[in-house]
């Protein structure tokens, strides 16, 4: 069934969009990532103009993540205190990232920088996660004695300590602020929500339990996606609500199935699968960067 998108100014198959939403929403609920890194390329493949794809994608991620976040909150898996601290850092980081992005654009480096950055960040994260979780899974099978919750190092000596009860942490607010800020900076440069970077950062840098990480990350994604949606609608006029709602029709259902499936997985299994997914996306991007494009020229409004 063809439906006309008023902002993208073109028509697309409605059922196809619902299917794409279902897939991305499922990943969102399972791993606590927004799924923007997968959604945007898929929408571009359907011929939707890039600015509309990014903005409407953020709007869809907002809806799907709300659904996932509610599901996680019911399982008591959202650390609201940690979430607020991360969002505060994230907003500051995004503001910094936007001006950095403008500078890159002025220097004419933007495409090369973003693409390379993406592959390097994703590749490194993916390898680290797969290796760590594989070790954890092997250790479980050997019935080794459980490790301590997390190792203590210099980070735990910092001031402004705050108790994050759900995360079973009593640490300084500085590391979460820096993590939120760093992810916000990177994600505003790369044009994605940053869930796939935030999840490993919370696990490995902050030492949070995997189950709580997913719910808290979803809270972060909800806040950032809402901010991006409003900015894009206000400043650029590129949010297509018809496109968003079609994607959401599949997305909210997918997020619930993902959350149900995720609750049956162990922490290290979830980390292993997310690591594998991140690696797969990095490989796909690298492949796209290195194979000669079938169209040497591209056309855009401007």
């Amino acid at each position: 069934m063809q439906i006309y998108l008023p902002i993208a100014e073109m028509s697309v198959d409605a059922f196809l969009l619902v299917g794409v939403g279902l897939l991305v929403g499922w990943l969102s609920g399972l791993f606590g990532v927004g799924g923007g890194f997968l959604l945007t390329p898929l929408l571009l493949l359907l011929g939707i103009p890039a600015p509309v794809a990014v903005a409407s994608g953020a709007n869809q991620v907002l809806g799907a993540s709300t659904s996932g976040m509610i599901a996680q909150a019911r399982r008591n898996n959202v650390d609201w205190t940690m979430g607020v601290v991360l969002v505060l850092g994230g907003l500051a980081g995004s503001a910094l990232g936007i001006s950095f992005f403008a500078w890159l654009k002025g220097a004419g480096l933007v495409d090369a920088a973003v693409s390379l950055f993406y592959v390097i960040v994703l590749g490194t994260l993916g390898v680290l996660m797969v290796m760590e979780s594989a070790r954890a899974i092997r250790r479980r099978h050997r019935r080794a004695p459980p490790r301590r919750l997390h190792e203590h190092f210099w980070m735990h000596g910092l001031p402004f300590k705050l108790r994050f009860r759900k995360s079973r942490l009593f640490i300084s607010v500085i590391p979460p602020l820096l993590v939120g800020g760093g992810v916000g900076l990177l994600s505003s440069i790369m044009g994605v929500g940053g869930g796939f970077m935030l999840v490993p950062a919370m696990i490995y840098l902050l030492g949070m339990p995997t189950a709580v990480v997913i719910g808290t990350s979803l809270f972060h994604v909800v806040c950032i996606a809402a901010a991006v949606t409003i900015m894009a609608a206000w400043q650029l006029g590129t949010v297509d609500i018809v496109l968003t709602l079609l994607l959401l029709a599949g997305g909210v259902a997918g997020a619930q199935f993902g959350a149900q499936m995720g609750s049956r997985l162990r922490g290290e299994e979830t980390r292993f699968l997310l690591g594998a997914l991140v690696l797969a996306v990095a490989a796909m991007l690298l492949w796209r960067l290195t194979t000669p494009p079938d169209q040497l020229f591209t056309l855009a409004r401007g």
């Binding site: 008023p6 390379l116 809402a226 959401l248 020229f297």
Partner: protein, 252 residues
Amino acid sequence: MMRRRLPLLSLLLLALGWLWPGGAARAQDLVARLSVERVELSTTFAGASVLVFGASERFLGPGGAEVIVVTRGPVVPQVVRQKVRILGMWFNGPAARFPDVPAFYAVAGTLPAWRLLPEPLRERYGIGLDQLPLRSTGARGPAFRAALLRLKQQQGLWQEDIAPVAISGGRLFHLEMPLPSSIPEGLYRVEVLLVDEGRVIAQETLSFEVQQVGTAAAIAAVSRDQPLLYGVICVLLAILAGWLGSVIFRRS
């Protein structure tokens, strides 16, 4: 959605009626009309076609006069980017900006226009994709112009002789012009030229409007006129959808 179209035959008979109004008035060389005045972009729009039809008192076809139809949509800016290879990877490279090209352009004739008119005349009337005045800034080179022509044609937004103007009975002509779903809003001008022996002997200019209507138009209007409000609505709708989903798909 387009207005319901009358059967082709009755339209052509109507055209004949215009051509010889009661027999008293002087017969006209050329009369042309469109099947629609407005193409409506509603939420179910998936492309449409416009029928250009008319008649001439001259004999049409081999040995007689010929017809050329040129359609131009609103003018838009376009950017063509070239991908370049750096260190074994492909990145967006130089770009050329074409500030004023027609968003839609279609030329069709009873025969290809280059066989009917000499180049100076085709240039004067802007007939044919090779006669579009494509001014550009930024990167130079014929490759960008060629890429613009190729990509626009692939999108179905620029058409040259994809279907001929059909002649019936040596007097009537019609052309079915497809419009892809990505046509933008605006005023579209249709020029119908009657051509004989390498000269334009009669000309009629028609137009139709492409317009968003209903829900699609309302959404586009709010997004344009109240962007901040629109953004807030989008956020609330997405959150509502997320909440609804978590209620509907909840399992105990």
